[in-house]
Structure formats: C-alpha cells, structure tokens
C-alpha cells in the first residue's frame, strides 16, 4: 500500500497532470478559461475571490520553500529549525485562514447564493471543490496539529517529494508520517489528477506578458 501511495500514485498523478494539461492546451484551447462567474453574480465574490487567491499565493510560496528548498540550505543561511518552524507558522496559519476562509465564502456563494451560478457549476467542478476542500482542511489541520513542531516534514516529506521528482522515489522516508499529513499527500495527488480537466488550468495563464506588450494589437490572418 505504502509502495503504491508513495512510489506509484505520484507518477500517475504527475503524468495526468502534465500530459493532460498539454493535450488540453494543444487540442482543446477553445475551452481553456478562468470560467469566471462574476457576470452571473457579483455577490460575495468581492471578498471571497481576492482572499482565496491571496491565501493561495501565500500557501504556494510557503510550500515552495518548505518542500523544494533542502533543509541544509536554509540552515546555511543561518536559520535553525526552531526559527524556521516559527516562521512557517507565522506565514502558514494566516495563509491557511485566508485560503480556507476565502474558499468557504466562495462555496457559500456558489451553492447557497444566486441560483444562476448553477450554470457555472459542472459535475467536474463539484469534484474539484470536494478535493480542494480535502486538501485545504488536511493541510490546515496538519499545520495546527504540528504547532509544537514534534514532526519535521523537512526530514521526511520534503526529501521524499524531491526523490519523486528525481525519479528515484525513497518510500522509506514516508514511514511514520502522521495520518493527517498522509491525507494531505493523497489529496494533492488527486488534485493534480483533476487539474487538466477543470478551471484550475487558468493558473498557467497568468498574463505576465501583458505588462510588457504594446496596447493595440494588429494581426494578420
């Protein structure tokens, strides 16, 4: 079971994530969209949407440092484990509150707000919200349950994730990881598998080039 969860499933998830995204971009760009629902109802999206995204950016940044940057690098930079843990809590808990709070507001808007939003909510969207909620709750609970810092994910989960990326998965690192962290692992893999089939793809279309382009575009046929 462990071997499947941490040695096989990540590769299935990443393959669907990358392959599916490429296929959708190449063959189905016509439906590549943010799927914005602001036109149907502005109610609650004024706060819910920006808060959700702000929390998401903060959480993403935190995960990037915590998972991809090896522990010895931050320690070389003069940050010991205790300081790092405090910093991660100081950033992570507000991020989680914004992220989860924004998400709950958006869920309320979508499922208990304007009846029009039904046309913007597909079956796939419902699955997405379920898995996203799972990932968010498990992540938040994992952070809160680990306030004392008894479990060091940077000795276990982070090196495992990097070993997966290096195509040499070290499953032994995942021995003894608390259940809530394991739930978080499974939920991100599910999320990666859903990614190409949902509105999440819009995160790959951040319009950075807009800042540098000219105002009026002329195009040849």
């Amino acid at each position: 079971m462990k071997a499947f969860l941490y040695g096989v499933l990540p590769y299935i998830a990443l393959t669907i994530f990358i392959g599916g995204t490429i296929v959708r971009y190449v063959y189905f760009e016509r439906n590549w969209t943010t799927k914005s629902s602001e036109f149907l109802s502005k109610r609650d999206s004024q706060w819910g949407n920006p808060l959700f995204h702000l929390g998401l950016f903060m959480a993403f940044g935190g995960h990037f440092v915590g998972v991809l940057v090896p522990k010895f690098v931050t320690e070389m930079g003069g940050t010991d484990e205790h300081t790092y843990h405090l910093m991660s809590l100081a950033g992570g808990i507000p991020a989680g509150i914004l992220f989860l709070g924004g998400f709950l507001l958006l869920l309320k808007r979508r499922f208990a707000g304007s009846a029009r939003l039904k046309v913007n909510t597909s079956v796939m969207d419902r699955w997405l919200y379920l898995v996203l909620l799972l990932a968010l709750m498990s992540g938040m609970l994992a952070t809160l349950s680990n306030i004392p810092g008894t479990f060091d994910y940077r000795e276990t989960i982070s090196p495992w994730f990097r070993s997966v990326l290096m195509l040499q998965p070290d499953i032994s690192l995942m021995e003894g990881v608390p259940a809530v962290f394991q739930l978080h692992m499974v939920s991100w893999m599910l999320l990666a598998m859903l990614f190409p089939f949902t509105r999440l793809v819009h995160c790959l279309s951040v319009p950075v080039e807009y800042l540098f382009r000219r105002d009026i575009i002329y195009r040849r046929k």
Binding site: T33, S36, L40, R116, K118, V119, D215
Partner: protein, 472 residues
C-alpha cells in the same frame, strides 16, 4: 506614414425608423445560441434613454474607454498593474442584470392545458435558471420612450447645460442603432490581458480569438460602448465580428444589408496608423473629431496611393477607398460624426445626425426650418456626436437642410440662395447617396485581398484534403 485600410460604416439616422430589423437579422445569425441569448451585437436604442446595458454611457460608473492623465493616454480603468489586481474581482464588470435575464415562455402549456374557464397562458421562464421568472427589464425596454422614468436618467440629458424636462409638449426622441465600432484605438484590445483581441491587419475588424481568450473579462468594462459580451456558457468574450465572412466575399454585414430604411453605408477608409495615438490624445475632447478627420487620408492623392501600395494594400482596395461612400460622408462632406468621440477610442462607425420636426414655439410661420428650431436640442445631439461641441453637429445638420433647400429650388424653379457653401453638384451627389441610396452606391466592399489569395489558392490546388483547408 504607415497606411492601413479600415472597413467602416455610416448610419444615416435621419432615416432610421427603429424597426429593429438589423437587430433581428444579426441575432438570428450570430447570437441565437445558449450562453449568448442576452447578447445583441447590434441593438437599436431609443434616445433619450439609459440604453443597453443600463447606463452604458455613464463612464463615471463603468470607467470605460480612455482618458488623458497628465497629457498621456491611459485606460480609464487604471494602469496595467492596477488592472491586473482586478483579475480576481473587477468592480466595474457589468452583471447579467445590467443587461437583462434572458427568458422564454412555456408555450407547451398552451397545448397541454386542460379545459378551463379561462384561456391558458404561456408564462415566462428563465433561460439561465430554467425557473419561472418575473420579467423586470429587457433588451429594448425603453422602446419609443416606453419607460418614462429611465428616460429621464439619460446621462446625456444630465450633461447638457440646459434644462430638459421631457414634458409632453417638448418631448423628442430618436433612434440609435449600435454595433461594435471597430475602433482605431480600441480600449478592449488594450485591456485584454491575454492579447486575444486584435485588429485584423487587412481590414481593421476587431475580433476576439476564441482560442486565445482566457475569460479574464477585462475587455467588457473597458469598452465604453459595452459592445463586448461575456458568454456564460463558454466563459469567453464575444463581440460583433462585422460579419467578416461576408466582408471577405465583398458583401455588407447582415445588419446593413437587411436595413429597410437603407440607411447604412459601408466602405473602405485609409488612415495613417502612426498618428492614431496622437489623434486620440487631442487635449480637448471637442477637437478629437477634427484630429480623426486629419488622419483619414485622401485615396485620390498619388502619394497616398503609392504609400498604400508599399504597405501591400491591393489595387482593388485602393479603388474601393476611392469609391467609398463612407469617405464621402465622413471626410468630403463631413456630415457623418463619431458617437461619443470623448471616449477616445476613435470609433469607425459614424452617424449622420437626424433632422427633426420643428418645435411648437416656431410652428406658426415657418417656411424652411432652421437648425435651432428643431425638436431634438442641438445640445443633446452634441453630447452624442460632438463630444459636447455643438458647432460640429450644427454644421452637419445645416448641410442636410441646405441639400433639401437646393433640391426644393431645383424642383420649384426658385432661385438658388447665395448662402449655400457647397457647389450645386455636391448637394445633388449628397441627395443621390442619402435619399436615393441605391444598394450598389451604399456598399463598396472589396472582396478580401483577392489578388493574393487567388494566387495562393492555385498554388495549393491538389495539395490538401477536405478536412484541412489551407493544407497542413
């Protein structure tokens, strides 16, 4: 000088009877499908009125178009970084209720109803929620001043210096058919974060790439005319395409073709692309009209023709520009004016302002009316077509009156008054184009880049299959 060709349209409002044929043909061709039910690429508004969507002209509310900030041209919705922050929530994005909620009727209940004391009725049902709904507003709620209250809220009435009460004895109205203006300086193009909206190089038609659109929806508030729409089904932006498949075959748009009043004209304009920004940045809004006229080039000028050839504009396009009825109405005679030039997008759909019946005050002894005697206040027309500059509108209306005067003199054998500014010949040409308005005079549309594409197509002969036009 970098010359570009633009397909442009003129509407002669003097002849618009508000029959909505243009809207209906357009609707049937382009927006008769789920997600687009509420869209009218072409709609006809009764003015005064708040329009479709509600209050679209109020840029304090929508922040559409451009403004001068410290002398520099900038979108009214803010700088680029400011606008990117609005990706998550756009305060100026219109909602469905600003247009109207599309509906159908339960027609089936008329057939399936049991025998009853009263006639069965087909009740309205929302096309969005599929539930019963109460109709509170529609795409043409104010037709012929139907909603008296909203009519008084017209922002143009508020912006006029004078007091307009819209009391019965001085009521006035006119129709305003609207399509996408295919602007030279389009705000929707500049606002699109994905770069999916563009002007076609060969004819200036503004299009949304349905592949490139990511649904960031910034074009919708940015367009001051609110002529870009959000499709709630595909979650992408859509707009009037100027019937480009027809243009490419030398045919006018369906709205122009089907117009029963024969008031629409289409043709080619040549303009200097390098000076567009400068023209849009005229310090005074009342001067924008003149600065746009200045960048429209004379297609008979040999230097212009030479420069156009150098830019790869085909001979049949240059010929069409020389024959263009739009060039005559806009530049030669200067009777067609831009709608709300103060938005600084340089719209390429032009309007000949309407004459109107004279007011009761002067009814008693009038031989031929003066511009100032007309029911529609000049100041009101100036808000629409002169960016507040009444002289522009007066000059246009005076030419229309002079044309009538001259034609009357020719008919009755009276002496032609001295004060007419233009030649007799010019007025007769105007009369022929405006009043007789033959189909072949109204539309001078060159089939798209014919010379090149015919050659290219011949090269391709036998090289591609059925499923892949153009070869791949």
């Amino acid at each position: 000088m970098k010359i570009k060709a633009q397909i442009s349209m003129v509407m002669n409002l003097d002849k618009c009877i508000g029959c909505h044929t243009c809207s209906i043909t357009c609707k049937n061709v382009w927006t008769n499908r789920q997600g687009a039910e509420y869209m009218y690429f072409n709609n006809v508004e009764t003015k005064p009125g708040i329009g479709y969507p509600k209050h679209w002209e109020d840029q304090q509310k929508w922040k559409g178009g451009w403004e001068l900030k410290n002398g520099k041209l900038q979108l009214r919705s803010g700088s680029k970084p400011e606008r990117l922050l609005k990706l998550f929530y756009h305060p100026d994005q219109p909602e469905m209720d600003d247009y109207y909620e599309p509906w159908t009727y339960d027609y089936e209940s008329l057939i399936t109803s049991k025998r009853k004391k009263h006639q069965p009725v087909a009740r309205p049902r929302s096309l969005i929620t599929q539930k019963r709904m109460e109709i509170k507003w529609g795409p043409n709620w104010e037709d012929d001043l139907a909603d008296g209250e909203s009519v008084r809220q017209d922002i143009n009435l508020k912006n006029m210096a004078g007091e307009i009460t819209m009391e019965f004895h001085d009521l006035f109205m006119k129709y305003l058919p609207r399509v996408c203006n295919h602007c030279l300086n389009p705000a929707c193009v500049a606002a699109c974060p994905s770069g999916a909206i563009y002007k076609r190089e060969e004819d200036g038609v503004v299009l949304v790439s349905q592949d490139g659109c990511r649904g960031w929806r910034h074009c919708i508030p940015a367009c001051p005319y609110k002529k870009v729409y959000f499709n709630w089904k595909t979650n992408k932006a859509e707009k009037c395409v100027f019937c480009f498949p027809r243009l490419e075959n030398g045919l006018p748009t369906v709205c122009a073709d089907s117009c029963v009043g024969r008031l629409r004209y289409m043709g080619v304009l040549l303009y200097d692309m390098d000076k567009v920004k400068e023209a849009a940045s005229a310090p005074e809004t009342g001067d924008i009209y003149q600065s746009v006229l200045d960048i429209l080039l004379d297609p008979h000028d040999p230097a212009v023709m030479e420069a156009a050839r150098k830019e790869g504009i085909p001979e049949n396009w240059i010929k069409a520009a020389q024959d263009s009825p739009v060039y005559q109405l806009v530049k030669e005679w200067q009777i067609a004016l831009p709608l709300h030039a103060e938005y600084r997008t340089l719209p390429m759909v032009w309007y000949v302002p309407p004459l109107s019946p004279i007011t009761r005050r002067v009814e008693a002894d009038v031989y031929l009316p003066e511009v100032s005697d007309m029911r529609i206040p000049i100041a009101y027309l100036a808000e629409l077509f002169g960016a507040g500059n009444t002289q522009i509108v007066e000059a246009s209306l005076q030419k229309l009156l002079d044309m009538r005067l001259l034609m009357r003199c020719l008919e009755t054998g009276e002496a032609i008054p001295e004060r007419l500014v233009a030649e007799k010949d010019t007025y007769q040409k105007m009369y022929r184009l405006l009043a007789i308005a033959k189909y072949k005079d109204r539309f001078k549309i060159p089939a798209g880049m014919q010379e090149q594409s015919a050659e290219k197509l011949r090269e391709l002969q036998g090289s591609c299959g059925y499923n892949c036009p153009g070869g791949c």
